[in-house]
Subunit: 458 residues, 2 copies
């Protein structure tokens, strides 16, 4: 009876059901703006249209990109064991063509993943219909295909084919409007089209890069070249008017993807469809030889670094538009003994639900950062007494140390709140074990994230 | 201008800010009920009290458990590189005593983690103060210590020591009230104390097991024996009046923990403090020899299986009370070529934010289950055409196939909603590669999860 009494008087079982009031999501308006037509690489023609994969007629769901000249092609694909049909088909095309392609076709709204034989037939049909737009017609397929959207549903293939067949090289455009429409055709839960362009110079000659990509969930890519073990739905493409040999293009892309798309996380989930494709058509090369790692290391290095920096810009856009994201957070891990260790720690911090909810709550909870840091085995074991953690504001003011040589600092909470209250911030972790570093980009976990993913069927 | 026009008319940048209305969290009242005094193992005395670590005086924050007889002790500790002071101290005590201990002392409200030299001193002070309650007094420490709560803050050690010193063997109890108070002293964000007892029989003789544990966040334990590489804040203890040799007790616990506490996830985050301790004092052995793996394999196997089953019951309670949880989900992975592969796949599905939000949204989204399944490298690569996925209702009615031999089934959405609408369900994934299997227990990701972790500082 005494026992019963204790039990009855001190027990409160149900957590209070609260209302969840969320701060407004930050506006993303500034992240998409018109780009002058002259900034886009030469020799490409594009379109984005509504084929009928998505229900609402105002939403674009089919993009076609054609290079008017022969082009080198390279790609990185998801390492997921369940690779969607378009991933398998693009790999085959790229292998057969030995790194040459002239067209990309992409649909959003349906991932054509886990769709069996029908899915493979549909992906090939998209390739062949787009091949038919090429002039001169290719002897073997030169179209790479990408799909994103719901898994396990087959494409409305006749609608898609009709839409492709309605196009011709002359109906495609090359101005901002055409590029933007193509970028819109990639979108699923994205709130804005992701399109960027830049110019770079090699030996006094200007070349252009343009790229587009999409997120915004199932984003934790781990992509490798076609020959490697494959895993990540992030889709993207990068187009340049430089001339680059297929092999050098693949090497540069693989390097770039590891330091960009493979270094972002929205939700820690790797997709069956992740694909990044790059085309280099040499339209601005004016007879210069192809950039070739073996022949001209310097030119290759310049190209590789430009591609990496540009890929990183595109990858970060996906995180900024991550599902429900209110924060854009750079996780920098320094002082690791290997790049792999630095990358693993940065990835673990970037995917920690506790770190991400603390970021949403604007709570300077370094304990969670530390617990995540210590939770994975590294090639050189961590020595807690050498670890430093700090918040780095992006306005150039002084970093705020949270942990110095394994001991907690007395944190100025006002300053901590200032830094973590900003939309952008950096978490820096120094391991004190070596000179290797890696960066990862992540966002917070919000009510909106739960809402989007409790409702939306990928 | 044309470009600009396209841009202005089709852009909508901000996702609608919604109100987040959540279904009620399920009541957990039925998960804690009085247990008859006679069900508890003999020879233990316990208490739970308010020492002042937590602010509210009605919340218990200090538990003391004493075995009146010499006892074998075994433990599994977090493998996190940042091991809290109580973890390090308990490891040292256990090593010095060669697997003997007579007392446990636990506080909640402060994890004594990342607290440097002061933290180590405080943990030792708790051990020594509890040692002083033992009769006869130990020649070397026989107290194991556990802490849970905020990381990076030092304990209010004088309050804790005063509270320990106010106790004596005679002030401790052995009825349900005392056991329940001790269980309450473990609680942090838990909504109910987790206490269970059961009786088992070896060679016609009855023994008892009782245990208590706590969650409810930073729960993704990976614990190993003291000698192994260490990582998980889950705290728990299991007490028995069977007699078991220290080494056999450790082997049985290591086996049990892998299949129980190391197979649960609330949020995928591994703590700096995770500790499971078992004491076996032989109070019901009546002169029977200690259970010893080398001497009597049969008796050992019975004990090991009872311990594993009991540990699994305690571990599942943590998931049922997971932060914000509205669902209790068993993830069964079958047909793997190794137990390790099966465990890895089950863990990946159980930690997928997309799977967990789909469960909260009661969306039969098998695509996300599949993407998670395929996202990690296994010792035998997956063959998608051999994979089967189904939902298994817990009411004994027929499972619902979602994917058969890699091809999606036409799913009866009404039936799928019925199954996923229940509080308990099982996700079964058959890999078709071998005969090894593993189970994992997880919960969903809700608004409440985000709220708890956006506010609460661990």
């Amino acid at each position: 009876m005494a026992s019963n009494r204790v039990w009855q008087t001190t027990t409160t079982f149900k957590r209070l059901i609260s209302t969840y009031t969320s701060k407004s999501l930050p506006s993303k308006t500034h992240l998409h703006a018109p780009i002058p037509d002259s900034a886009f690489p030469k020799g490409y023609a594009l379109t984005g249209l509504h084929a009928g994969v998505k229900k609402k007629p105002e939403l674009l769901d089919l993009g076609i990109i054609i290079s008017k000249l022969p082009a080198s092609a390279a790609a990185c694909f998801t390492r997921n064991a369940f690779k969607a049909a378009p991933v398998i088909v693009s790999q085959e095309v790229l292998k057969e063509s030995q790194g040459r392609a002239r067209a990309l076709v992409v649909n959003s709204g349906c991932a054509n993943a886990v769709t069996g034989t029908q899915g493979m037939q549909d992906a090939w049909a998209m390739v062949r219909a787009t091949d038919a737009l090429l002039d001169p017609p290719p002897s073997a397929s030169e179209t790479l295909v990408m799909s994103t959207g719901v898994i396990g549903q087959t494409l409305p293939i006749s609608k898609i084919l009709t839409a492709i067949q309605s196009q011709s090289t002359s109906s495609l455009g090359s101005g901002f409007g055409a590029w933007e429409a193509a970028a819109r055709a990639f979108m699923t839960t994205d709130t804005f089209p992701k399109l960027r362009a830049r110019t770079f110079t090699i030996r006094g000659k200007d070349y252009r890069l343009a790229g587009m990509d999409k997120g915004a969930g199932m984003i934790h890519p781990n992509m490798g070249p076609p020959s490697g073990q494959l895993h990540a739905t992030l889709l993207g493409c990068i187009l340049t008017d430089a001339a680059v040999s297929p092999r050098s293009l693949q090497n540069a892309l693989t390097y770039a993807v590891d330091r960009s798309f493979n270094s972002i996380s929205v939700d820690g989930d790797m997709s069956t469809n992740d694909t990044i494709i790059v085309l280099a058509n040499g339209a601005a090369a004016d007879g210069q030889p192809e950039i070739n790692e073996a022949m001209d290391k310097d030119a290759y290095e310049i190209f590789k670094e430009e591609l990496t920096s540009f890929a990183s810009e595109l990858a970060q856009l996906v995180v900024r538009d991550g599902e429900g994201a209110t924060k854009f957070v750079t996780v920098s891990v320094e002082g690791a003994s290997t790049y792999g260790d630095a990358h693993k720690v940065a990835s673990r911090i970037s995917t920690s639900a506790l770190v991400k909810t603390a970021l949403f709550g604007e709570d300077a909870n370094w304990g969670r950062i530390l617990a995540a840091t210590g939770s994975i085995p590294l090639s050189t074991p961590l020595d807690p007494s050498r670890v430093n953690v700090s918040f780095v504001p992006i306005d150039g003011t002084a970093p705020l140390p949270l942990l110095v040589n394994g001991e907690p600092e007395k944190v100025d909470e006002t300053r901590a709140s200032e830094i973590i209250g900003a939309e952008d911030l950096e978490i820096r972790v120094e391991l004190g074990l070596g000179d290797q570093s890696a960066k990862y980009w992540t966002c917070d976990f919000s009510y909106e994230y739960v809402k989007i993913n409790g409702d939306y069927r990928t």
